[in-house]
Symmetry: none
Subunit: 210 residues, 4 copies
DNA sequence: AATGAATGAGTTTTCATTCAT
DNA sequence: AATGAATGAAAACTCATTCAT
């Protein structure tokens, strides 16, 4: 391994270290109440160093979201081309993927929402915005392929193939955010996953040909 | 009308004037980039005056959200007790209610989301938090009553009566937020309502007994 | 009584009402944390009305202090010319006068201190400043006369007749402020008066010819 | 000297720089009319920098007072254990210590008074409050030791040993504040020290066994 | 490459005071 | 005379970002 490659790898390593710290702090505090100083402290680095790896707070947060999207996409790619199960089974595996992410860190999807607010999108550089579009699009097309498979198998209704993926995604995110806020308001704890389960079941049922 | 009543009405009027100005500014800038000074300017008042009517920025924003929730609830109450239509028809009227709100100001529902994030809920006074809980609960119980009606009519599946209202609300909100962000990302403008329509259709279908 | 006199009396009445309210609020909050609105509320008047009777917050506070000085002076005048007791006995009556004021409202003397800070004196109108000087001077000359009497009776040392009154006053005020702050710091409650007693005893002893 | 030690020293240096600037501004304007911006300007720093070293305005002011108390205590410690002079001589050295502080900056003792008002004590962090209590207590115990020495030498009256230190301190502070305000009121300048001298003499005389 | 002290623009918030009614 | 809603200047404080070392 050449010296250049080692440097490159170290650089990548440092990025991950910062992003992991940022994930923790954003999870605990939310975007606006998280401070760069606290993220730096968590990463055991100085504030200035973060700016060597990320243009600003906004892009650090977005990079994090892209990362999660990439993880989700990678997980989904593991099963979307399997031949031994049908589209409905794959829909349940999609659900499990989301579930895993939620279990890993319940806030990550809420943070994805922050990203989606128009307030944020405007502050991103074209470069990062393109990367975001690309990653989003990959994640969605994985879902779309499952939906289309279901349609071609005659399991799912064929009316709105394009919208299916969006709706699955949106439903999932909406439910996560909603039940999480209810949990906060009511101090009820373990019902997020049950609700997600039910919501998903209903949604899949809605897609089905009767 | 006594002098006291007139004063009271003027006071109420001034609150509305501020809230209307705040709605515009929050819509255009989002919560954190909106400034109290700009809201004051929009309302043609001085910054100090706003603090005579709202304790702080957070509570002004929350009052706005409560207002929208109240409006939604009021709209729904107009038809939930009608005898001449069935639960499925009422589900479509629910959809129309959300649609109207979105058309009035696409940001208002996104603002509702801002409110629901745990980040925000912690800064509210107990008083406003109670009002919020109360209003949320009213809106949800209106939806619940439609869901229950559908179940007792044998139209909707009876498995998860409690969760239905939450899921309807969450799905709707999630879809609004999602498509709105897509609109921003892709500069596609008019597909929000179509997507909402489809999402709703699928969801209702999912509730149905097969 | 003519209409003019009645008006005059009502005006005087209203001034007293405001000053009594102000005394309570200044006592509870201190000068800078007391607000005109709270004083108005306590007086069951509106903020604007206070400004019909007092030029500003500073002068309201000073008027209060002048009032207390006048009360102290009036009390002292009751005994300084008595023939049946000597100067040392009169010194003890001076102490009782201070004690009474402290018992009536422990904060009034601390508020007198606020007045004495250079920070405040500069904001007063010449008129009020003159009144303050006049009243202070009367209070001091009462004390001075006791000190001089003691000197001419051969009881007190004659070295510094002019300074005696100042020192008595200053000692008294300093001790009040000091013990009051100690009370706050240590949560000890009932030692203020004992300490005052001792301080006074020592001071009088210091004046005495040996 | 290691790099860490140098940094530490620079930091300490910066604190002193800010405190010196604050002392000047508080002296000239008093606590409430002094602004952080002006202090920053005086220190040739930006406002934000001050907040790196002091939590808020209140604590900056208190730190200043603690500093003065520490200085006073240090001065007193230089002579309280000397064997070659008696307690009365030490009382005069105590006086000189106060005198020096007053000559250095007449406002510093008045600032100590600001600190002692209950109004202020409530805004301090527990940490700073503890430091203040500690430092006050040290200063007082230095005085107490002189008083006790005088009692055991049969020079001072033994009746109230505990209160002696408080009374000495309170008397001194009261006189400083009082004469200073007189100076302001009457534009008489140089009589503060004379008055202090006399006050002290009388007080010491009051302590003496006759 | 990493630091972290310093920046300073930007915001929220307060409250004595005014003035139209 | 009294009101009290409105003012708006002023101030404390925050924190993303920079840059000399």
């Amino acid at each position: 391994m050449g010296i250049h490659e080692r440097k490159q790898r170290e650089k990548e390593q440092r990025r991950k270290q910062i992003m992991e710290a940022a994930r923790k702090v954003f999870s605990a505090k939310g975007f606006s109440r998280a401070t760069m100083e606290e993220i730096a402290g968590q990463a055991e680095l100085s504030p200035g160093t973060i700016y060597l790896y990320f243009k600003n707070k906004e892009e650090l947060h977005t990079s994090l979201s892209i990362n999660i999207l990439e993880y989700i996409t990678a997980q989904m790619k593991k099963f979307i081309n399997r031949d031994d199960i049908d589209a409905e089974a794959k829909m349940h595996l999609l659900k499990d993927t989301f579930m895993n992410v939620y279990e890993y860190d319940p806030m990550v999807l809420i943070n994805l929402f922050h990203l989606q607010s128009g307030e944020t999108l405007q502050n991103l550089s074209d470069e990062v915005l393109d990367e975001l579009k690309q990653t989003s699009s990959e994640a969605l097309s994985a879902i779309t392929s499952v939906a289309n498979e279901g349609i071609s198998q005659g399991i799912f209704v064929a009316k709105h193939p394009v919208a299916l993926a969006d709706i699955i995604w949106a439903t999932y995110s909406g439910v996560v955010l909603w039940v999480d806020s209810k949990r906060l308001l009511n101090n009820e704890k373990d019902f997020v996953k049950q609700t997600l389960d039910i919501a998903f079941e209903i949604m899949v049922n809605g897609f089905k040909v009767k």
